[in-house]
């Protein structure tokens, strides 16, 4: 038995450090097989749901597409003009194809972190391998979708994303459940490698279901002069979601930016953090979070900045907006410096919607509900994501719909 299997077995019952503890045996592992097909051949209801998380069915608008339903890979295509520039495979195929890939596998995430990493090793259901080749600037975004079509299913994906030196790419990933799905568990392991002078912008949109549990485990390694922008948008209810992605700024002048827009509704429990480890000269990090909590939702928004090297800098900004007396927002910013010459700072503000602002807009003729919707929409400012125009517009639409639905 491989050592990672052994370690996974040992961690099988190990609860995560944060978030509600789940009985991982309470979900089904059975799903039908889906065959490989173009997106346009997929059932209409699945395509429609994938649109909600930023996918476009016309693959021409994307440099490459990866689409997984339950445990099956249904599409992994690279547009002709991007062949030789980017590679998209399932991780199972990629591990067969590239011997060297094992060095990237469970490399910056420990397999025995908790029962969810263990589950992903012991019951691994594909995931995507995306690699942008050296020096390639990919002009269209890549898209991937992890979809769940079976109720109470457990899906465990392990993704590897590599931006080779001097490459540049935008990736949008949507994770969604079919409208017939009410519960289930998604575990997603994602290991990002951003090499010298590369720039990777990764935008993930989640749209699960009321009784769905989600446990992503993400880490990024950032080399000299490389930049990693990680955007996370969750606007729809979920039973529980807990993640604490970490970026290791290993290289000289390595940069990371975590942006998240969270909207909690119903009984959603969202525990979302971002950890930045500054490990070299000129390393920089920024964490920006916007959290809106409605109904009986609970949002924990965490941030940990660790300064381990001189001449490094990071800032954390969290703003929370409460729309209900039963909702909760708990901002937990942490700064940890263990060397001089590292500069860490944070600001956090949590509060109710300001009456002054509502009344000001009412004095411009907006109804109270319209004014609140405009403020909520503005609060969930997609400009913080730093996206190119076409992706920004899609995100804006999603936020707009949420804000209108909110009030």
């Amino acid at each position: 038995m491989s050592s990672s299997k052994e370690r996974a077995l040992q961690a099988r019952d190990k609860p995560a450090a944060l978030g509600p503890d789940l009985d991982v045996d309470g979900y089904s592992r059975d799903s039908r097989d889906w065959s490989n097909c173009p997106l346009s051949y997929l059932p209409e209801d699945i395509v429609k749901r994938s649109l909600d998380v930023g996918m476009v069915p016309d693959e021409e608008e994307r440099a490459a597409t990866y689409f997984q339903i339950d445990h099956s890979v249904v599409s992994r295509t690279v547009q002709r003009m991007f062949e030789g520039k980017v590679e998209v495979l399932s991780t199972r195929e990629a591990l067969k194809k590239y011997e060297w890939l094992k060095d990237y596998w469970w490399n910056i995430i420990q397999v025995d972190t908790d029962k969810y990493t263990s589950l992903a090793e012991l019951h691994w259901d594909q995931g995507y391998f995306i690699r942008v080749l050296e020096g390639q600037k990919v002009t269209l975004p890549l898209q991937s979708c992890l979809f769940i079509s079976t109720d109470n299913l457990n899906q465990n994906v392990h993704n590897i994303i590599i931006a080779e030196p001097r490459s540049e790419v935008q990736i949008i990933t949507g994770c969604a459940a079919h409208s017939n799905v009410s519960r289930g568990l998604h575990v997603g392991i994602s290991e990002f490698y951003i090499k010298r002078n590369a720039k990777l912008t990764f935008t993930m949109v989640h749209d699960w279901a009321l009784n769905f549990d989600v446990r992503p485990r993400t880490a990024a390694s950032i080399e000299d002069d490389a930049t990693f922008i990680n955007n996370y948008v969750c606007l729809r209810p979920v039973k529980s979601l807990q993640m604490y992605p970490v970026a290791y700024c290993k290289g000289v002048n390595s940069r990371v930016r975590f942006n998240s827009i969270l909207y909690g509704s119903s009984n959603s429990y969202l525990d979302v953090g971002s950890k930045v480890v500054l490990q070299n000269n000129g390393s920089k990090g920024e964490v920006i979070a916007r959290a809106v909590a409605k109904d009986d939702s609970k949002i924990y928004t965490r941030g940990l900045l660790m300064g381990e090297h001189r001449n490094s800098k990071a800032h954390l900004e969290c703003r929370g907006l409460l729309l209900s007396n039963n909702a909760l927002i708990h901002a937990v910013p942490e700064l940890l410096a263990n060397t001089e010459g590292t500069e860490l700072s944070h600001e956090a503000a949590v509060g109710k919607i300001s009456e002054d602002q509502v009344q000001y807009l009412m004095a411009r003729g907006l109804s109270e509900a319209e004014a609140e919707a405009l403020i909520v929409r503005g609060f969930m400012d997609v400009n913080i994501l730093g996206l190119p125009e076409n992706l920004r517009e899609r995100m804006e639409k999603l936020v707009e719909t949420t804000a209108e639905r909110a009030l």
Partner: protein, 252 residues
């Protein structure tokens, strides 16, 4: 147009307006003077219906309709525009977003907004900024005036449009307000009266301790205030609301 009768208002239990009577007829521009804290802004907020300004007695009628208990937006929809003195900043809400909602649906919204902006030499870059966030004093005033222009209301209230504005911009704002007010009604609050160099006002009122102490000719009242300050009002034997009948006041 606007009739305020016997209006008394409290904020947090404290009386801020006391038996205010004021009428702004159709087509007239009235000026409101008064020392700091005399209740000028409170009057504007009360006319608009801000909930913190609780009407204890009296009523407010607009175009003949009793609006005393209407929500803010419904009053505004009847044709009231306002330029605030200290508007709040709203993160993420762009000035452009608000302006687009104000201009009529008949117009090509972006073009109309740009046209209005040009009339007051408004920097277009500010349109894309979060409303009032990090705006300079002058930028706030211009943005407020621009919103009022876009509102295109029959009756407009300006709360100190001339304070904190440099000479050049004062001229631009003053001319824009004057042009806009042709044929409309307005209530203007000003401290030092700079705006009156550009705007023809029909009547002025002096508010002291939450009540109208006297009313009369705007330029005469202003010159008295500038020469002698509000101390003059305190001494003035006729400057009491129960005595205040401007047509019988020989000083005005």
């Amino acid at each position: 147009m606007l009739e305020v009768s016997g209006l008394s208002v409290e904020v947090g239990g404290k009386r801020v307006l006391d038996d205010v009577n004021l009428e702004v007829p159709k087509g007239e521009v009235h000026v409101l003077f008064g020392p700091n804290g005399s209740g000028k802004s409170s009057l504007i907020m009360s006319v608009l219906g801000f909930p913190a300004y609780r009407v204890v007695s009296g009523d407010i009628r607009f175009k003949g309709k009793d609006i005393t208990h209407l929500p803010i937006n419904e009053r505004v929809k009847l044709g009231i525009g306002v330029s605030f003195q200290n508007p709040p900043a709203i993160r993420g809400v762009k000035l452009k977003d608000v302006l687009r909602r104000l201009v009529s649906d008949k117009d090509e919204k972006d073009i109309k907004v740009h046209e209005l902006a040009e009339t007051i030499n408004f920097p277009l870059g500010l349109m894309e900024r979060d409303i009032n966030l990090g705006f300079s004093g002058g930028e706030v005033k211009k943005s407020e005036v621009l919103q009022v222009l876009a509102q295109n209301a029959d009756f407009v209230m300006f709360d100190e449009p001339d304070s904190g504005v440099d000479v050049e911009n004062l001229q631009i704002i003053g001319r824009a307000i004057n042009k806009m007010l042709k044929g409309r009604s307005a209530l203007l609050i000003t401290h030092l009266g700079y705006i009156l160099h550009y705007v023809d006002a029909d009547k002025a009122h002096v508010l002291l301790d939450g009540t109208i102490a006297c009313s009369g000719n705007p330029s005469k009242i202003l010159s008295q205030i500038l020469n002698e300050g509000y101390a003059w009002c305190e001494k003035c034997p006729v400057a009491r609301r129960e005595l205040c009948k401007p047509e019988t006041n020989p000083q005005l």
